[in-house]
Amino acid sequence: MKLAYWMYAGPAHIGTLRIASSFKNVHAIMHAPLGDDYFNVMRSMLSRERNFTPVTTSVVDRNVLARGSQEKVVDNITRKDAEEHPDLIVLTPTCTSSILQEDLHNFVERAQLEAKGDVILADVNHYRYNELQAADRTLQQIVQYYIEKARKKGELVEGKTAKPSVNIIGISTLGFHHQHDCTELKKLMGDLGIEVNTVIPEGASVNELKKMPQAWFNLVPYRELGLTTARYLEEQFGTPYVDITPMGVVETARCIRKIQQVINAQGADLEYEDFINEQTLHVSQAAWFSRSIDCQNLTGKKAVVFGDNTHAAALTKILSREMGIHVVWAGTYCKYDADWFREQVSEYCDEVLITDDHGAIGDAIARVEPSAIFGTQMERHVGKRLDIPCGVIAAPIHVQNFPIGYKPFLGYEGTNQITDLIYNSFTLGMEDHLLEIFGGHDTKEVITKGISADSDLSWTKDGQAELNKIPGFVRGKVKRNTEKFARDRGFKEINAEVLYAAKEAVGA
C-alpha cells in the first residue's frame, strides 16, 4: 500500500479510452463498477467535446460479483453494435476486472459472432501499466489488428506512395496541446513537400489503418505514445521512423534533418538546410529572442523542470541550450522510461529527478528556490504556495490547458509559443533587471507577507527600510537568506549593514 494524495499518470484504462475515443466511430465498453466512467466527464469538460464520448460501461455490481458477468458484457457489446454501428468496439478492463479475472476474451469472441463491427479486448493490466503505457499498447494493438485483418483479406496496400509521405502517430484526445501540435506538424510536412498519409489515432477511421504501410516513414512526436506502433510497422514493413520531438529550435532542425536522411535513403532527393535556415532566422522568433537583451537578462537564472518525458526533456534543452538558463534539476514521472530521460537531459541540468511523488518534488522546489518552475498543474500549485511563477508544460492539466487559441508546442510556431511561455513565467527579465538597478519602486510599508513572525531575529528600522527597497518578488528570498546569514554568524539584529554584508557574502 502506498499513501498517495496526487498522481501524475492515470490508471491504465484511461490510456485505452483515450486511444479508443480518439478514433472515429470506435466505441469503448468498460467492464467497471458504477462511477468509473469519469473519463466521459473529463473529455466533455476539458476538451469541451460537442459529441457524446463513445464510452459506456458494462456495470459490475453485486450480481456480477456473485454470479459473474455471464451474458451482461456480451449483451452490452451487441446492443452498442446495433445502436451505434461502430467499426470497432474495444472492451476495456479496469482495476476491478483485473482482479475478477473473468474470461473477457471469451466474451469478446462470443460478441463477435453477433456484432457487425469488430470487437477486441484491450490487452492492458491495471497493476502493470499506467495511462501512458496502456495508451501506447492499445494503439499498437488496434493497428496490428487491422493490419493483420487487411493482410488476411488481401487488402493490404504495401507499395509506397509516389511522393514522400508520412504517418503521424500519437495525436490523441486529452493530450497536452495535441490538436494544435497536429495542425503544426501537418503544416510542417506540407512545407517540406511531404504528404500526410495518416494521422492516428485522433480523427482517424480504423479503415484507414490498412494504408499505413504506404507511408515512407512514421513520425512519432511524443516519446510516450506511438513508439510501439512505429516499431511494429518497422518490423512488419521496414518502415523507418523518426522519434525526435520537434520541440525547440535545435530539436526541430534535428528532426527535419533526420526526416531528410530517411526519405533520401529511399530515393528522394530533398535538401532542407535552406528551409531550416530561413525558418530559424526569420520565421521562428526564438533564435532572435536568444540574442535579444530580454533573454540576456535571463542568463543564469535558476529554473526547475518537471513533467512527462517528452515535454520535460525538450523544455530542459530549450532552457539550457537555447536561452542560457540554469536548470538546477529536471525530472520526469515516467519512471518506466527513466533511462531515456537521463540520457536526454544529463548534460543540460545539474541533477535529474525521477519520481512520481509530488511531495518529493514540492520539497525539491522549495530547496532550490528557482526563479521559475516549468511543470504540471501540481507544480503550478507548489509555485503558488512558494510565490514562484510556473509555466505548465505537461499533463496532468486542467481546462485552462486546453486553450481555444492556436498554441502548438511543436514545430516553428511552437518555438514562438514556448518562448512566450518561458519569458512570461520569469518575472520579466528586463523589468527585473531595471528594478534591481534602481532598487525597486515598491515602497509600501508591508515588507513580506509573513513579516518576521517566524523569525527569531529582529530587524532594525534602517534594516527594514533597506529590505523594503528590494523588489517584492525577491524580497522574501533576500529576507530568508539574510536571516540565515545573520543566524550563522550570531547577529541578533539585522540592520542595513548586515543586509549588505549578507549580499556580499552569500549574494542574498
Binding site: 499513501l3 492515470g10 490508471p11 469538460m45 459529441n51
Partner: protein, 467 residues
Amino acid sequence: MTVAQQPEALNFECETGNYHTFCPISCVAWLYQKIEDSFFLVIGTKTCGYFLQNAMGVMIFAEPRYAMAELEEGDISAQLNDYEELKRLCLQIKRDRNPSVIVWIGTCTTEIIKMDLEGLAPKLEGELGIPIVVARANGLDYAFTQGEDTVLAAMANRCPDKAPVTETDKNERNAISKLLNFGKKKEEVVQEESEYVDHPPLVLFGSLPDPVVTQLTLELKKQGIKVSGWLPAKRFTELPVLEEGYYVAGVNPFLSRTATTLMRRRKCKLIGAPFPIGPDGTRAWVEKICSVFGITPKGLDERETQIWAGLEEYVKLIRGKSVFFMGDNLLEVSLARFLVRCGMTVLEIGIPYMDKRYQAAELALLEQTCKEMGAPLPKIVEKPDNYNQVQRIYELKPDLVITGMAHANPLEARGINTKWSVEFTFAQIHGFGNARDILELVTRPLRRNNSLKDLGWDKLVKEEAKI
C-alpha cells in the same frame, strides 16, 4: 423494493442501471470539510485516486485531509499483510495530521478481495488510540451521495448513548441541552430553555454546511423545537448523544441507511417528512416535526408566502417550462416537487435508487403538488439507462435537462439546455432562505439564453448525431 405495494398514482419504472454518476467515494470531499478533525483514507486503486483528483479539482491542492491508500499488486495477491500495511499508513497519518478520527472508505477492490476492514479497524483502533470508522462507499453497491449515507450510518454507531449527567444537573430534564450549553451560566440556560416547548429530544441527520445548519436550527426554534444535536457535528468529538426513544429526522433524501441504523440499532423514532428543499418542502418538513410533537406551527403560512413572493422574478422564467431529470444524486424527487410547485412540468425523474419508505412523505407531497398545480404526474425511472434517456430527450425536447457533466456539453451542442446536477449537491439548497439559490441554478441556462438569443447559434454540431 423495501415496501409492499401501496396504491400509487406515480408511475415507477426501472431500467438497466447504465447511467453516469459520481462514485460514492466522492463524499469524502464534503465530509472532510464538514467534520473538521477527521481524516478520510480511501482504500482503493489508482482508478479511485484518479477520480478523486479530477473530480475535486482545486481542493486537492489545499492539503486536504484525505488520501488514498493505493493498493498494489502485492496487496491484491495477499503477499502483503493488510493489517501491517494499514497500520503503517495510519501511523503516518496520526503523526502528520493527528486527527480525532480516521474514516476508512472501503471501495470496489476491498469488496472484491474481501479485505476485512470492519474486522481490522477495532484491532488497529486499540493499538493506535484513534477511532477508526469504516464505511463501504463503493461503486458496486452505491451511487454518489449514498456515500455520505454509508459514512453517517457508520458514525451513528459511534454516537454516545448516554448523556453524561453530573450531580447538580440531576434535576434537569434535558441533559443534552445542558451539555450543549456547557460553560454558560445556569440562569442563562434556564432562560433559554424556556423558549422551547417541552418535547422529547430531536436529533437531525445529514451533512450540511454550517450556515444551513444554523438556519434550519433557528427555523425549528421559532416553533419552540430544540435541536439536541446533528449527525454529523462539526467535529467527531461532538457527535450527538442518541438515547433510545430519541426522535430523528433526515434533511436529505439519500440517507436511508442512516435512518435504518438510527431506528434499528439506536432505537430512535424516525419522523418521516418531506425534505426541507424549497419553501414548500421546508414548510412541510417543519409542519411534520411539529405535528409529531403535538405543536401547532405558527407563522409558517406567511413565511412561505413571503419567500415565494421574493422568488417571483425567477419563477416567471420557468413557469410553464418542462424539465427532465436524468438522475444521479437522489435529490431528484425533492427538486422535481419544488419545480412543479414553481409551475414547471416534470417529464421524467431519473433516480439511482428509490427508497419508497424513507421517501414516502416526499413522494406523497410530489403527488399532491402535481394535483394542486394541475401538472401531469411524472414517471420515476430508477436505475435509468442514459442512452435510452437521451433518445427520450430528443423526442420530448424538454426546456431543461438536469444532468451530469458527461452529457451536458453534447446536449448543449444539440440545442438542449442543461444544468449540471452535481451543483445541487454542493450548493446550499435547504431551508426557506436558500430556495433562491436553487432557482438561481435552475434558471441559469435560461437566463444565458436570454442574453444570447437572436444569435442563431443553437445547434453547433455539424452532422446530426446518429441515433
